[in-house]
């Protein structure tokens, strides 16, 4: 039984304690998913390989083909572009693996009343949703990203010093939060309207602008990608640190900041959405 007078600090302690459990909880879901997949080892490997091909190898070849005809795109050489593209693939791969399945499922969960299932359990609803839909296929994207980055690095003689590794980890984490936040916020529309699915597709399509250096776009688009739907912080601004050139190189360090702020906003929207869900039932 709860006591009626709780100090603020104890509440905070409780929340912290709870939060610390989540990584291991998520890991348990992952273990289960992988264990389940191990029964279908072939499916497991094939899924990853297919993603690796589709998002890693093929785009690599296509970009290479373009560069057989030209030397650079807006001053970006082949390896530089490859690095940019590879970072995008990597972060999207992480997103794909850990969270995109759950977030994309939100609309269905709301309509089918599946949110009831997670509400009934003593754990954060969002974490439950994304943990349940861990998608190992995304690992193929991640590997594809590494391939592109690796190739680009060797061509650029880019050394992966501990500092650089730390940097890229921060960028990937920040970029992941940005993706998570934007697409989560979009998915939350499902609490109030339908057919959010196609809207999510537009947002995702829009993010693909960042596969190429954003300088080539109309200023309005650059503005959109930087300040409204800050996908540019996922790979464009960070990449500049490693190749030493571009617009506003210092902005790369804003990536984790942008990620955290956006995520707080998106999470707040999620909470509001949940409130609406529990008021209107399913």
């Amino acid at each position: 039984m709860k006591s009626d007078n709780m100090q603020f600090t104890t509440i905070f302690q409780n929340k912290l304690q709870r939060a610390l459990r989540y990584p291991s909880l998520y890991l348990h879901y992952v273990k289960l998913e992988i264990a389940g997949m191990m029964e279908y080892k072939l499916d497991f490997a094939v899924g990853i390989f297919a993603m690796f091909l589709a998002n890693g190898v093929i785009p690599l070849i296509l970009i290479w083909v373009i560069f057989t005809q030209v030397d650079s795109i807006n001053g970006w050489t082949f390896p530089q572009l490859l690095l940019l593209n590879g970072l995008s693939t990597l972060v999207f791969g992480v997103w794909h693996t850990f969270a995109s399945g759950g977030v994309r499922h939100i609309e269905r969960g709301i309509q089918m009343g599946e949110l009831d299932r997670v509400l009934i359990r003593p754990a954060n609803t969002l974490i439950q949703m994304i943990a349940e839909r861990f998608d190992e296929d995304g690992i193929g994207d991640v590997i594809g990203g590494f391939l592109k980055i690796g190739l680009a690095s060797s061509m650029l003689s880019l050394v992966w010093s501990p500092y650089n590794i730390l940097l890229i980890l921060i960028f990937v984490a920040g970029g992941f939060l940005i993706l998570f936040a934007i697409i989560l916020a979009a998915a939350c529309l499902a609490f109030w309207t339908t057919r959010v699915h196609s809207f999510l597709n537009i947002i995702t399509n829009f993010s693909r602008f960042t596969e190429y250096p954003i300088e080539i776009y109309h200023p309005a688009i650059i503005f959109l990608l930087t300040f409204i739907l800050p996908f540019a912080f996922v790979n464009y601004y960070p990449t500049q640190i490693f190749i030493g050139k571009g617009m506003h190189i210092e902005w790369a360090f804003y990536t984790p900041v942008v990620g955290i702020i956006l995520f707080i906003i998106a999470y707040a929207i999620w909470k509001v959405g949940l409130k609406s869900y529990t008021s209107t039932g399913s």
Binding site: G36, E114, R121, N124, G281
Partner: protein
């Protein structure tokens, strides 16, 4: 009733829903794209009741009566329009994370288990989510597997289980963490007699041994008669009755049934006050006697004096009839 022993308090609960009006036809559908018409529906209208620790309550009512809505509110997944609920001192929807640790829920129509996983994996996950200590988890799992006979089902993906098998696993899952209150929403729906029996026994045992407070919504009178000393009847969002089954039979069971096997086939005219006669076949008749207007003994005497009788049985009022009657006519003393 001492409020210290009330584990559940529901006061003046009200819930209204806004239901969208969909119009048929393409042109009308386009119109609704721009302006939507809403209708306000009273799902729950001022319901109040208290439940003590260890009670086993049955909640019955026709479809759409408001039972499920009430349960959803009590489990914290739905916020009421007005009124308050206290379960174990918690407000279910305000203190969800803390509250939910102490309850178990089974929704008859939807499984709480993970669809693609075998039950054993679902249980494992629940162990982590509810933070159940290993030894307690093992003990409970062993006990449930035995009583509910789910040992053989442990490794089969839930989606491949039959309804009865799945329900038993769901039941086990809901009690792994030793909740103090268990909510069951239509748990026996669609199950065969054997499955129902197993589940009822399990629930009875759980309630008796662990003193788990159990709230059960159901359509099945058998559940009620076997399990619930106290029932709450809900219809059209309102509480119609709150009391024991025995009392309801006494108060409202004004009809007794006489089944008479005659020696010879007869074509009688039974024109007696308070008696409704229906033919089962030429030699068998059913007499519904309104005990307010006629005495059983009198009716029996009259039959015996006029006809040769093979066998007479007197039957208790049918609880289902009674309840249906209450739905139809509301409460009347």
């Amino acid at each position: 009733m001492d409020s210290m022993t009330n584990i559940i308090e529901v006061n003046n609960l009200c819930k209204q829903f806004k239901v969208q009006r969909r119009e048929a036809g393409l042109a009308k559908a386009l119109k609704t794209f721009f302006s939507q018409k809403y209708e306000v529906v009273d799902a729950v209208k001022d319901i109040s009741f208290n439940i003590e620790k260890g009670e086993f309550i049955g909640m019955i009512g026709p479809n759409g009566a408001g039972k499920s809505t009430t349960i959803k509110i009590m489990t914290g997944i739905l916020v009421p329009s007005s009124g308050n609920v206290k379960v174990m001192g918690y407000c279910p929807w305000d203190e969800r994370l803390d509250y939910v640790k102490n309850i178990g829920v089974v929704f008859g129509q939807r499984t709480q288990l993970w669809w693609d996983l075998p039950p054993v994996d679902s249980f494992e996950l629940l162990k982590h989510i509810y933070d159940i200590p290993e030894h307690r988890f093992k003990k409970n799992l062993e006990k449930f597997s035995e009583v509910l006979e789910i040992n053989k089902l442990m490794d089969i993906p839930v989606r491949k289980l039959s309804l009865g098998e799945r329900m038993r696993c769901d039941l086990a899952a809901s009690l792994l963490h030793d909740p103090k209150v268990l909510f069951l929403d239509e748990p026996t729906i669609g199950l065969d007699v054997v499955a129902k029996e197993k589940i009822r026994n399990f629930l009875k045992e759980t309630n008796k041994e662990k003193k788990t407070t159990i709230i059960l919504t159901t359509h099945d009178m058998g559940d009620i008669e076997e399990l619930c000393p106290r029932i709450i009847i809900i219809d059209k969002g309102q509480k119609l009755y709150d009391g024991s089954v025995a009392e309801i039979k006494k108060k409202f069971g004004k009809e007794r049934m006489l089944i008479v096997d005659f020696v010879e086939s007869i074509h009688p005219r039974f024109d007696w006050k308070g008696v409704r006669a229906t033919e089962i076949d030429a030699k068998k008749f059913k007499f519904l006697v309104d005990t307010r207007m006629a005495k059983i003994s009198d009716v029996t005497k009259r039959i015996l004096s006029k006809y040769q009788v093979h066998d007479i049985t007197v039957e208790e009022p049918d609880i289902e009839e009674i309840i249906r009657d209450i739905y139809r006519r509301g409460l009347r003393a």
